[in-house]
């Protein structure tokens, strides 16, 4: 669980609008939703990391993500061949990064 994990909102906290209770694999935890851009409601699924909801999820996404890491970028997965090993050369790494970001 050091990476992200899905949870379903089970209760809101009227006294603390940034806090909700979520069900994470059968365990209820209080988390902060202050980073979410839109309001959420009981029944919604969220991706949680270190006590914060980082994004909302569909039930299907939640079912698929037992233990995921957020893609903090806005795009799709890169297409570097899976067999490629680490580019230990800095210039090569930077070039790979630039290519990925295009």
């Amino acid at each position: 669980m050091c990476l992200g994990i899905a949870g379903q909102v089970v209760a809101m906290d009227a006294a603390h609008p940034d806090l909700v209770s979520v069900d994470v694999q059968g365990v209820n935890r209080d988390i902060n939703i202050g980073l979410l851009p839109e309001p959420i409601a009981v029944g919604d699924w969220v991706l949680i990391h270190l006590g914060f909801a980082l994004q909302t999820m569909t039930p299907e996404e939640a079912a698929d993500s037992v233990d995921v890491l957020l893609d903090i970028g806005p795009g799709e997965e890169d297409d570097v061949p899976g067999g490629q090993r680490y580019p230990w050369d800095r210039e090569e790494a930077v070039a790979t990064a630039a290519e990925t970001e295009r």
């Binding site: 669980m1 050091c2 990476l3 994470v24 365990v27 935890r29 902060n32 202050g34 980073l35 990391h49 270190l50 006590g51 914060f52 980082l54 233990d67 995921v68 890491l69 957020l70 893609d71 903090i72 970028g73 806005p74 795009g75 799709e76 997965e77 890169d78 570097v80 899976g82 490629q84 090993r85 680490y86 580019p87 230990w88 050369d89 800095r90 790494a93 930077v94 790979t96 990064a97 630039a98 290519e99 990925t100 970001e101």
Partner: protein, 279 residues
């Protein structure tokens, strides 16, 4: 504390303090691992759902297969321990030298092959991080090392979230999730007052602010992670807990490797392309 400015200062001691190096009570690596892993585990953030056992292990300094099994359940930390142990030809990921290198940083890290480190990241994260992989991969030639600090600043998404509207939340998480250092001012039961430097973010780079005092947890009902503390002791902090008392060498290493990771992070964040990815 300076009564005129209200600021407090913490200086690296020029010679070993009262705690010898290594501390006689430090126990082995498994116990050390438990001391640092417990705080986020108690919060439900990392590792198996058995924080009470972890606290008891850390407090008692007891080592048995149950503790090793708990440690393997920390899916974030364990692969780094395996990598460090493998690369340094140390037999166990829970060897004290390995565990200390991961949590605090040490010269042991200089023996880790950069390509092996990179390949371990490919195996663990490449298919998960998508477009951000290029940004992540850059960290290694930039000088990153397989430490907890790297995992916090280089793997987790929180550095990228600093550019959002509510940067105080990501900053808070990064500050508490990293291993911090501080100096004990006073001890009162299960609480201690320490001075430490908070993490700062000025919109373009991360840094450390002025020393300020904070109250931290050193135990629950008398059961704590660190041995007896006294004013003047240097300690490591994880989330709101005192994890351990630090020797001078450990204090210097923690500060050195923390600053190294901040430098690597700032250089990556400052790149225009990275800013696009992180926005």
């Amino acid at each position: 504390m300076n009564p005129e400015s209200g600021s407090v200062q913490l200086e690296i001691p020029s010679k070993p303090t009262a705690s010898p190096d290594p501390p006689a009570w430090a126990g082995d690596g498994a116990t050390m691992f438990a001391r640092y892993a417990y705080p986020p585990n108690e919060l439900g953030y990392c590792g198996p759902d058995d924080h009470k056992s972890l606290l008891e292990y850390a407090n008692a300094g007891m080592v048995d297969p149950g503790l090793a099994q708990l440690a393997r359940g920390f899916s974030g930390a364990w692969p780094y321990l395996e990598l460090i142990a493998h690369e340094t030809k140390i037999g166990s990921p829970l060897d004290r030298r390995v565990v200390e290198a991961y949590w605090l940083g040490s010269s042991l890290l200089s023996r880790i092959d950069m390509t092996s480190f990179g390949n371990s990241l490919i195996d663990r994260f490449k298919t998960r991080v998508g477009q951000s992989w290029g940004y992540l991969a850059e960290a290694i030639p930039a000088g990153a090392l397989p430490t907890h600090s790297f995992h916090v600043f280089g793997i987790y998404p929180w550095v990228g979230l600093l550019r959002g509207e509510r940067s105080e939340h990501p900053l808070h998480v990064l500050d508490r999730c990293r291993i911090r250092w501080g100096k004990v001012l006073s001890v009162d039961g299960d609480r201690a007052e320490v001075i430490s430097q908070p993490l700062t973010w000025d919109g373009t780079s991360l840094g450390l602010g002025e020393y300020r005092s904070e109250t931290v947890t050193r135990g629950i009902g008398g059961i704590g992670l660190a041995a007896q503390l006294a004013p003047g002791d240097y300690v490591s902090l994880h989330w709101d807990w005192v994890c351990d008392r630090l020797s001078r060498r450990q204090l210097v290493n923690l500060r050195r490797y923390s600053m190294l990771e901040l430098d690597v992070t700032n250089r990556r964040v400052s790149r225009p392309a990275a800013a696009v990815v992180l926005s």
